[in-house]
C-alpha cells in the first residue's frame, strides 16, 4: 500500500508542478467562471440560470394552507423562477411530469389544512395528511428547487403551529385564558404566524432565502461547478497521459523492474490522478466560495459529490488511456472529451432546458450528475437529494474502471 501511495503522491507533485497544467486545471476554470458571470450579469444575486420551472399544483385541500401554497408558487417574487400550472386531479399532474412537461407536481391532499390546524370548536386536528412531491428524475435541479421552496413554506407553518401551542400553553398556565378558549386562540396564533405569511409575500420569500433556497441560486453557483467539472476532465486525461508518457520516457519500464506488481503501478497512477482531481476540485470550490461569495451548500455533501464525480471522471480518463497509443492521442481525445462533455453535460447551459433526449444523453457525463448535485446543494438540497447522483457517478466510474483494466491488460500496456 505504501508503494501505491508513493506513486500516487508523486503523480500529484508532478501535476501541480506543471505550470501549463496548473493554468488549465485552476486558472482557466476560474477565469471562465468569472467571464461567464460578468457576461450573464450573474454577479447580480437576483439572476438565476434556472428560471420558469414548470410545476404542476393540485390543490385538493382547498383550505387555508393549500391555498397559501398555491399563492406562494404563484407569487410575484417567484414569478421568474416558477411557472406554476393548476390542474384539478393528481393523475393529470403526474402524467404531465411523466411527459416531461413539468419538473415536479405538488399534490396537496384533501384535509391537509385540517391535519395541521386544530378545529376551532373541538380543538382536534384531522388525520395526518402529506403533500406528495412527484419529481421529474431528469430535472433534478428544478425539482429540488420546488422541494426546497415547499419545505421552506412548510417549515414556516410548523414554526407557526409550535408557536401557537407554546403560547396557548403559557397563557393557560398563567390563567390568562380558559382551556375552552385554547383551540380557537391557538388556531388564530397559528394562522398569524404560519399561514399568515401568505398575506405578506415578502416575508415568505425572505423565509425561503433564510433556508438557503434562493440565496444559493446564483448563476455562479451553476457556472462554477460547471467549469470545475469541465476542467476536471482535462486533469484526468492529463493524468492518464502520464502513463503513456512514462512508458515512452523510461520511468515506467524502470518501475516495472522494481519490486512492484503491475496492479500496484496502475493503482498508484490512478490514485495519483484521483487525488489530483479531488485537490483541483476542492481548490476551485474554495476559491470560488471566497472570490465569488458563493454558497456551495453543506460541506460534507459537497465533499461526497467531489469524491464521486472525480471517481467517475477518472474512469473516463482510464478508458482513454486504455484505447490510446500515444500521449498525444490521449491529449487530443481528452481535449475533445472535455469540450464535448462540457457542452453535453451542462457546463455552459442547463440541460434541463434542452429536449428530453439531450437530457438523457447528458447522463453519460460526470458533468451532468455533478452539476445537478452541486446545484441541488447550492439551492439548499440535502444529502438525500444527491444520493441518486452520487450512486450514478460511482457506478459510472466503477464500470469504466473495469472496462479500462480489462482493455489495458489485453493490450499489454505494461509490457514492453
Amino acid at each position: 500500500m505504501n508503494k501505491i501511495l508513493g506513486i500516487g503522491w508523486k503523480e500529484v507533485k508532478l501535476a501541480f508542478r506543471d505550470r501549463a497544467g496548473l493554468i488549465l486545471m485552476l486558472l482557466a476554470p476560474m477565469l471562465l467562471t468569472l467571464g461567464l458571470g460578468l457576461v450573464t450579469g450573474s454577479f447580480n444575486r437576483s439572476s438565476s440560470p434556472v428560471s420558469g420551472i414548470p410545476v404542476v399544483l393540485v390543490n385538493l385541500d382547498r383550505a387555508q394552507i393549500g391555498n397559501a401554497i398555491v399563492d406562494t408558487f404563484a407569487s410575484a417574487e417567484l414569478k421568474d423562477l416558477m411557472d406554476p400550472m393548476l390542474v384539478s386531479d393528481a393523475a393529470s399532474a403526474r402524467k404531465m411530469v411523466d411527459d416531461d412537461k413539468a419538473a415536479a407536481a405538488l399534490i396537496i391532499p384533501v384535509g391537509f389544512t385540517d391535519s395541521i390546524i386544530p378545529n376551532t370548536s373541538t380543538g382536534a386536528t384531522g388525520p395526518l395528511e402529506q403533500i406528495e412531491l412527484y419529481a421529474n428524475p431528469t430535472r433534478t435541479t428544478s425539482a429540488s428547487v420546488v422541494k426546497t421552496i415547499l419545505e421552506g413554506f412548510l417549515g414556516q407553518v410548523e414554526v407557526g403551529r409550535i408557536s401557537a401551542e407554546t403560547s396557548v400553553a403559557a397563557l393557560i398556565d398563567q390563567g390568562l385564558i380558559q382551556p375552552g378558549d385554547a383551540a380557537q386562540l391557538g388556531a388564530q396564533i397559528g394562522m398569524q404566524q404560519g399561514v399568515g405569511l401568505t398575506a405578506n409575500p415578502a416575508i415568505a420569500l425572505e423565509q425561503s432565502t433564510t433556508s438557503g433556497s434562493a440565496a444559493g441560486f446564483n448563476a455562479l453557483a451553476y457556472m462554477a461547478p460547471g467549469m470545475a467539472l469541465m476542467f476536471l476532465m482535462y486533469t484526468v486525461s492529463y493524468g492518464g497521459r502520464s502513463i503513456l508518457y512514462e512508458k515512452q520516457h523510461g520511468t515506467l519500464p524502470r518501475l516495472m523492474v522494481a519490486p512492484l506488481t503491475t496492479s500496484q503501478i496502475l493503482g498508484g497512477k490512478i490514485l495519483g490522478v484521483y487525488l489530483t482531481g479531488v485537490i483541483q476540485m476542492l481548490i476551485l470550490i474554495g476559491a470560488s466560495a471566497v472570490l465569488f461569495d458563493l454558497n456551495w451548500g453543506n460541506p460534507l455533501s459537497i465533499l461526497l459529490v467531489v469524491l464521486s464525480a472525480v471517481f467517475a471522471a477518472v474512469g473516463w480518463g482510464s478508458l482513454i488511456v486504455a484505447f490510446a497509443k500515444t500521449p498525444s492521442q490521449v491529449a487530443n481525445i481528452g481535449s475533445a472529451m472535455m469540450l464535448t462533455f462540457g457542452i453535453l453535460g451542462g457546463s455552459f447551459f442547463s440541460v434541463e432546458s434542452m429536449p428530453g433526449w439531450y437530457t438523457i444523453l447528458s447522463r453519460i457525463t460526470p458533468n451532468a450528475w455533478g452539476i445537478s448535485s452541486f446545484s441541488t446543494l447550492a439551492a439548499g438540497g440535502t444529502l438525500l437529494d444527491i444520493l441518486p447522483a452520487v450512486f450514478a457517478l460511482l457506478a459510472m466510474g466503477g464500470v469504466l474502471f473495469i472496462i479500462s483494466v480489462v482493455v489495458i491488460r489485453r493490450r499489454g500496456l505494461f509490457q514492453e
Binding site: K3, G6, L14, H249, R254, M256, P259, E416
Partner: protein, 314 residues
C-alpha cells in the same frame, strides 16, 4: 566462485524477429562481465529479459537461485538496473527522485534518508540535491540515473550502455564508478559497443551479434581465438581510388578481413610487419597518400572482426 547469474538457452522473439537466439552464459559473484556487440546485437533485449522487464520466449535464467520466469519480485529486489536512457522525473529534484525510487525498493524512514544522503555524496551532487533534474547537465543526470540503481544495494547491477552520448569527462567518471562498485563487492553486467570500455572494465566478456553469443571468455582467452593475428591500420586522407585500393589490399598475401571506414583501413593479418612493405608499395603504385600506419596487437575489436568480418561500430 559461485555464479550469481546463470543463463540457459535464452530466446527472445518479436514475432518472426529473433532478438536473442538461445544464449547461455554465467556470471560469477563479484565479477564485471561485459556484453560487447554492435547496435542491434541484442544486448538491451538480453538485459530487459534478465531484469524481468520482458518475458523470455524460451529458455530461462537463474539469478541468485531465482528463476526469471517464476520469481520476478524476488529477482527485482536483488538487482539494480541502470537503463541506457535516462529514467528520471524531470520536475522532481535529485533528492526527490532518490526518495521516490528508494521507497519503491522498500526503503523507509531513517534508512531511506541515510541511503539517499550516501548516494548523493557518492555521485557528488549533495550541493545540488534540491535542484530539479531538468536544470542538470547531461552528465549530472547520468549520475543520478546511476545513483537510483544503487539505492537498495543490489547484489547484481545491470548497466546498459551507460556512457552513450556523454562527454569524455562524464564517461571517465562512470567507468571509475563501475570499478568502485565492483570493489565494494557488487557484481556488474555491463553492455557496451565500445571495445575500449569492455577491455578496461571486464573480468570476462561475451561477444554478441545478431542475437547470438559468438564468443565468451577472458580477454586473453578471446584474443587467443584469433591466434597471433595482428591488425595493420592505415590512416588515409581523401582516397582517389578507394575501391581499387581496398580490392587490391584484399588479395595481398597474408591479408585477412580488410575493413574500410571513412579514414581508416584495417587489415587483419598473421604478420603485420611482413604485410607492411607490399601495402606501402601498393599505395605508391596507386598514388594514395598514407598519413600513418599502426600495427596493433590482437584486441577485442580484432576478435569481433575475425568472428564476424565486420567492425564493432558498423
Amino acid at each position: 566462485m559461485n555464479s550469481i547469474l546463470e543463463v540457459h538457452e535464452l530466446v527472445k522473439k518479436y514475432g518472426a524477429t529473433v532478438a536473442v537466439n538461445g544464449i547461455s552464459f554465467d556470471i560469477k559473484e563479484g565479477e564485471i562481465f561485459s556484453l560487447l556487440g554492435p547496435n542491434g546485437a541484442g544486448k538491451t533485449t538480453t538485459i530487459s529479459v534478465l531484469s524481468t522487464l520482458l518475458a523470455p520466449t524460451a529458455g530461462d535464467a537463474m539469478i541468485g537461485g531465482f528463476s526469471i520466469r517464476k520469481d520476478q519480485l524476488a529477482i527485482r529486489r536483488m538487482i539494480g538496473v541502470i537503463p541506457q536512457e535516462l529514467a528520471l522525473y524531470d520536475d522532481l529534484s535529485a533528492r526527490e527522485n532518490l526518495y521516490f525510487w528508494g521507497s519503491m525498493y522498500d526503503l523507509r524512514g531513517k534508512q531511506l534518508k541515510t541511503r539517499v544522503d550516501e548516494i548523493l555524496e557518492q555521485i557528488g551532487l549533495t550541493d545540488k540535491a534540491n535542484q530539479k533534474i531538468k536544470s542538470y547537465s547531461g552528465g549530472m543526470k547520468r549520475r543520478v540515473n546511476i545513483g537510483v540503481g544503487l539505492l537498495h544495494r543490489p547484489r547484481l547491477i545491470f548497466m546498459d550502455e551507460p556512457t552513450v552520448g556523454i562527454d569524455a569527462q562524464s564517461r571517465r567518471a562512470i567507468l571509475d564508478s563501475v570499478k568502485s562498485l565492483n570493489a565494494q563487492g557488487m557484481t556488474v553486467l555491463y553492455t557496451t559497443h565500445y571495445m575500449e570500455e569492455a577491455q578496461e572494465l571486464s573480468d570476462r566478456v561475451g561477444i554478441i551479434d545478431h542475437g547470438d553469443l559468438i564468443a565468451l571468455g577472458t580477454q586473453s582467452e578471446l584474443t587467443m581465438q584469433v591466434g597471433e593475428r595482428e591488425t595493420l591500420v592505415l590512416h588515409v586522407g581523401e582516397l582517389d581510388a578507394p575501391e581499387e585500393f581496398v580490392e587490391r589490399l584484399k588479395i595481398l598475401p597474408g591479408a585477412e578481413h580488410v575493413q574500410r571506414t571513412d579514414h581508416e583501413i584495417s587489415i587483419n593479418t598473421p604478420k603485420a610487419d611482413e604485410l607492411l612493405s607490399p601495402v606501402v608499395a601498393l599505395s605508391n603504385e596507386l598514388n594514395i597518400k598514407l598519413k600513418s600506419v599502426d600495427m596493433q596487437a590482437p584486441d577485442l575489436e580484432t576478435v569481433f572482426l575475425h568472428l564476424t568480418g565486420r567492425a564493432l561500430r558498423d
